[in-house]
Amino acid sequence: MIRTLRQPAQIVPALVFPMFLLAVNSGGLRDTTDLPGFPTDSYLTFALAVPFVQGAIFSVMNTGTDLARDIETGFLNRLALTPLRGAALLSGLLAGAVALGLLQAATYLTVGLVAGAELTTGFAGALVLVALSVSITVAFGTLGLFAALRSGSGEAVQSLFPVFFVFLFISAMALPLDLIQTDWFRAVATANPVTYLLEAFRSLLFEGWDLGALALGFGIALAVLAVGMTAATGALKTRMVRT
């Protein structure tokens, strides 16, 4: 956690870049709310869900790059010579993702609300929103750990960034699912789990308490966490070859 907070080069882009995209999208697509059936009259509120997922994508890079550096410098060797267990090592590395997730969620929400976004579910909704954001950030962070352990290279981890961004763009990022007119795009967005992460955030922002959407959002985060942690633990065993 300490070292995450000591790297402005990791923190600043993760805070600024999603806010910049939010400003561009909510300004440029403002008239989209005129479409019949659009669920809110504030495109800013609709688009505010996106930074939370973008922030989680940054977590893949940050946790992965940190661990890859540990491998490259031999710091992981030092840890391997101590009685530290693999699961404890991975959890320690994810503590940085928790810190970054909290900071990101607080920043995005504050900036969004100051800019005029709604939060229908109030203070309780804000807490759930932050919890969801941190869950996704940590879950995505495990994918970064896995990539680092498999490749041992910070560059390889960073090359994943565009791949994850593609998943964001082929989701219901810009429009609700039912307003996407192009059949193939709607089919892809429907199959894309990122869509349901966005819908969970949107439910808190402007739809009110939707337990189904929230369960799906948290469920996807949990599933990614389980898959990522299992894969990272397996990769750590291979990487941390100690008798």
Partner: protein, 336 residues
């Protein structure tokens, strides 16, 4: 805290082999014994198998064949017990550039299970011992190579190990930093009885530090003994002289041959191995003077560990290195 098994604080290795996929045997059946409190120098060029051996003995790389006991514990069956008995500073100083020396020490002592009260005292003691107490709160990313190496050594000692593995600890350091590290390693062995297994490609390091030296080449130990015994084994000192007048070279060679068999020399010089050892040098000078041969330079070469390496392998240690040890980096934990 460090523990030791029935074998005490020594190292016993029998037929240790490490073979990498699609590669040669990086370590090809080595046998060695290091007694408690001894400094053992493992000397060889790059790619000889030194680091692979250290990775196996520190449990970071499973051997393909053979056995080894470190501090009395089997490196394969009793890995955790081996790790609790040893400290290791591997080839690159394994530090996080974002953390300070004090934070490294806190983390290391905590991971080794030292009590909360003891952590701070032990950390401070070690930082003072390696001369880093003034810089302890600075991030190590800004440290010099020597400071990083000293911190690496201090971290390896955090849990008071009885055996210390140092993999090329002074590579890339200036002579001042190197000497300071040598003094600390000697002190550990002499004052605290720590067993030190030291790999190096520096002849003078093995000569200055090690009680015994094992010379490794292509994964095999080609010679082993005290530096003095190894040097004595390969022969006598050589005297080499260059005459002021090139025409005197043959006469010079004839004079030198009175004291021993001729030896290889530079084109303008003549050389001979002194049958009677270094003490004959004065007689050589008197003989040259009485023959009226004016001398431009006269040098006495005592055998070095490089001569030992040359005698055993047919190559000089300087520049004898292969590429990196095959697979060692890939298969261990980012093995350095």
């Amino acid at each position: 805290m460090a523990t030791t098994g029935q074998g005490g604080s020594g190292i016993e290795v029998e037929g240790l082999v490490r073979e990498f996929k699609n590669g040669p045997r990086a370590v090809d059946g080595i046998d060695l014994q290091v007694a408690a409190g001894e400094i053992y120098g493992f000397l060889g060029p790059n790619g000889a198998g030194k680091s692979t051996t250290v990775l196996m003995l520190t449990t970071l790389l499973p051997p393909t064949a053979g056995t080894a006991r470190v501090a009395g514990f089997d490196i394969v069956a009793e890995g955790p017990l081996v790790r609790s008995s040893i400290g290791a500073a591997l080839q690159e100083a394994a530090l996080d550039p974002l953390l300070s020396a004090r934070e490294h020490m806190r983390l290391q002592t905590a991971l080794h299970g030292l009590g909360k009260g003891e952590r701070q005292a032990r950390g401070q003691e070690l930082l003072e011992r390696v001369g880093l107490s003034q810089a302890a709160d600075r991030r190590v990313g800004g440290y010099s190579g020597g400071m990083k190496r000293r911190l690496d050594l201090a971290l390896a000692l955090a849990h008071r190990p009885r055996i210390l593995f140092l993999d090329e600890p002074t590579t890339g350091l200036d002579i001042q930093s190197r000497t300071a590290l040598w003094e600390e390693v000697s002190r550990l062995a002499v004052d605290e009885g720590v067993t030190v297994f030291l790999t190096t490609q520096y002849l003078e390091e093995a000569d200055a530090l090690a009680g015994r030296v094992g010379i490794i080449d292509h994964g095999r130990i080609v010679a082993e003994g005290t530096p003095a015994a190894l040097k004595a084994e390969i022969g006598r000192p050589t005297v080499e002289a260059v005459p002021q007048e090139p025409a005197d070279r043959d006469r010079l060679a004839a004079v030198l041959e009175r004291f021993g068999a001729s030896a290889a020399a530079s084109p303008r010089a003549a050389a001979a191995r002194l049958d009677g050892g270094e003490s004959q040098l004065a007689e050589v000078v008197r003989a040259l003077d009485s023959e009226g041969i004016a001398i431009e330079t006269l040098q006495l070469h005592t055998p070095s560990l490089d001569d030992v390496f040359l005698a055993k392998t047919g190559r000089s240690l300087e520049g004898a290195g292969d590429a990196e040890e095959p697979g060692a980096e890939a298969e261990a934990v980012g093995a350095t």
